[in-house]
């Protein structure tokens, strides 16, 4: 038995090339296996040309040769005009590393053989690294026989492999159907749009990538001034990574001395705590105390908010003697704020996790879980998304406080995401409620759940003054009135 001599090819057979599109390589399983044939499909306006050209410009900027062949598609001038709006566009590359050709005439005159000959000549002459064929649907529209089309696809695949040219075909189609354009390519990627009510989001789905372990399912992407940015679905990443959190036994305080005592020092580092309570009961203030304690210890902190804008939040903190502004100025504190309208939950989660990693954030305060859940568009996704998000935060050792609203009226607990209890998701749950005594609402706080043992499980009075939140002693409902009267008297004296 004789071993082949030129095995150097074998080790390169599955080497990957980066797409140059933020987030996309993670979906692809590391990048595109080189020298393969890919079909990028999607209906009009789905972003095919932008995505492919962004890949092309990225490679051209690295000195590689990129050919763009158009069949029936927008003219080269129009295409360049549209692309020039993106930051990746570099007109210096056009005519140098990026060459554009039209192939429709050859298709009309010589059929698929003519087109294949044109492509062969182009690749042989220019020795391209990347080939993009836009308007590939024209190949099918030229009415070839079924076997003729299959032969063409097979030959094209073989050609680009032989010429070491990674090739992208762009076609305005949808679905993973058994046509040769889909079956005889090495990778099939679909761009689509998902509509929920009046809102529309862009999604990318990888049906197949031969030689790569890609992420299954749909992933959201956005098209902005930098071109396409893909946000790999957090649930898929978390499932693949299976990162274990360190299960630290170190404690992180609430920033409220009385409550630290009652909870025997606070919550575990890296854990997640839900502050569940009625509107106006003091959830946000409690979260601000938690953040402030971290800032005063020199930690980096992050607030993710949906309703109260940063100026309002800073003013609110200042009213209880918590000065956040100086920590924003010195960079210890950042606030990510978005009204829960048409924003992508995937983009927001990505931004939050990236911020936490880059700044080594130790405390995160999410003010308004309801806001976060409101922007999860797909039915049934809230729970797995939140599970993945919290897992990612845990793996980064970020201690997280999350507020969740109880109804204005009545004392029933809210239906949690997908009607499942919070206890599975959160290590700790604090319940902040109003209790009515003699027609007056008073605040009370209790521990519903705390991971470590040894906490005082009784209800406690919760007071809010100019110095923020403080905790009164444990009392029964009957004694609450006396406690309030006593504290009011003390406040009047001071």
């Amino acid at each position: 038995m004789k071993k082949l001599q030129n095995n150097s090819q074998t080790k390169h057979r599955l080497s990957l090339t980066s797409s140059g599109v933020p987030g996309f390589d993670e979906v692809l399983g590391g990048g595109f296996p080189r020298h393969s044939l890919y079909l990028i499909q999607g209906l009009a306006g789905s972003g095919k040309t932008t995505l492919a050209c962004q890949i092309g410009f990225d490679h051209a900027a690295k000195g590689e040769k990129v050919l763009i062949l158009t069949l029936i598609a927008e003219t080269h001038g129009k295409m360049l005009n549209h692309l020039s709006n993106f930051s990746f566009f570099d007109e210096q590359l056009i005519g140098q590393n990026i060459l554009m050709f039209g192939g429709y005439n050859e298709l009309v005159k010589g059929g698929l053989d003519g087109l294949l000959q044109l492509i062969t000549g182009m690749l042989a002459k220019h020795n391209a690294d990347i080939l993009i064929i836009d308007g590939f649907r024209s190949v099918r529209d030229s009415s070839p026989t079924t076997i003729g089309l299959s032969e063409f696809m097979l030959s094209l695949n073989s050609l680009v492999a032989s010429m070491e040219c990674t090739t992208f075909l762009l076609s305005p189609t949808e679905g993973n159907v058994a046509d040769s354009e889909n079956t005889l390519v090495d990778g099939l990627i679909e761009l689509s749009q998902h509509q929920e009510g009046m809102q529309l989001i862009r999604e990318v789905k990888v049906f197949k990538i031969r030689g790569s372990k890609h992420l299954l399912g749909r992933h959201v992407f956005e098209v902005g001034e930098n071109g396409v940015v893909v946000y790999p679905r957090l649930e898929a990443i978390s499932t693949n990574n299976r990162t274990m959190d360190a299960a630290s036994s170190a404690l992180v305080g609430f920033g409220i001395p009385g409550w630290n005592n009652i909870t025997k020092g606070g919550v575990n580092k890296g854990s997640t705590t839900e502050l569940l309570g009625n509107p106006g009961v003091g959830k946000t203030l409690m979260g601000l105390h938690f953040i402030y304690e971290g800032l005063q210890s020199g930690e980096n902190c992050l607030i993710l908010g949906f309703y109260e804008s940063p100026p309002r939040l800073i003013a609110k903190a200042r009213s209880v003697n918590i000065d956040l502004a100086k920590f924003i100025d010195n960079g210890q504190l950042q606030i990510i704020w978005n009204p829960p309208l048409e924003i992508s939950v995937d983009a927001l989660a990505h931004q939050t996790l990236e911020n936490a990693s880059e700044r080594k954030v130790s405390r995160l305060f999410i003010d308004g879980m309801d806001g976060l859940l409101d922007i999860v568009m797909h039915a049934g996704r809230a729970r797995p998304f939140l599970t993945a998000f919290i897992n990612e935060l845990r793996s980064r050792q970020v201690t997280t406080f999350i507020t969740r609203e109880l109804p204005y009226l009545g004392d029933r607990l809210p239906k949690n995401i997908d009607n499942s209890p919070s206890s599975i998701l959160y290590e700790n749950i604090m319940l902040l409620q109003y209790v009515e005594i003699s027609g007056i609402n008073h605040r009370q706080i209790a521990v519903l759940k705390l991971r470590q043992n040894g906490y005082d499980s009784a209800n406690h009075v919760m007071l809010i003054s100019d110095h923020g939140v403080s905790i009164g002693r444990s009392i029964s409902a009957e004694k609450l009135t006396q406690e309030i009267i006593k504290n009011n008297a003390l406040n009047n004296e001071s």
Binding site: N127, L159, A161
Partner: protein
């Protein structure tokens, strides 16, 4: 980044016989070698190749190894035993990592997928050597 394009071999008008049971391979290489100035003849297995050789004597042969009816090793041995064809350079290519016919008198063995640039370099080298 790739190397520069290899110089064409148009002036010589060499004839290359490409033998492969995979149509896409013969179509692709035929077009590429034609682009580089070769005259190309193709066959889908060893037996067809023998018939083609009798009609048009090639200057060089590129053959797949695993083919129906007569494989590339058998074709190579047959030709190398015939005084009329024994001096024709014979490139054997295979998708397998190993071939069992260790005594095959080929001039060069290449593993598929063969990058065309490397193949062209070897073809030109063997023709020059001849």
């Amino acid at each position: 980044m790739k190397k520069d394009v290899i110089t064409k071999a148009t002036d010589d008008a060499h004839i290359i016989l490409i033998v492969d049971d995979e149509t896409d391979i013969t179509i692709t290489y035929a077009m590429l070698f034609e682009y580089h100035g070769f005259r190309v003849s193709t066959a889908c297995d060893g037996q067809s190749a023998l018939q083609a050789i009798n009609l048009l004597t090639p200057h060089i042969i590129l053959s797949d190894y695993m083919m129906p009816l007569m494989n590339g090793a058998e074709l190579c041995r047959t030709l190398k035993q015939d005084p009329r064809w024994k001096n024709i350079p014979f490139i054997l290519s295979s998708a397998a990592f190993h071939i069992n016919d260790i005594d095959t008198p080929y001039d060069l063995l290449m593993q598929k997928p063969v990058v065309f640039g490397e193949l062209l370099t070897e073809v030109l080298r063997l023709l020059e050597k001849k």
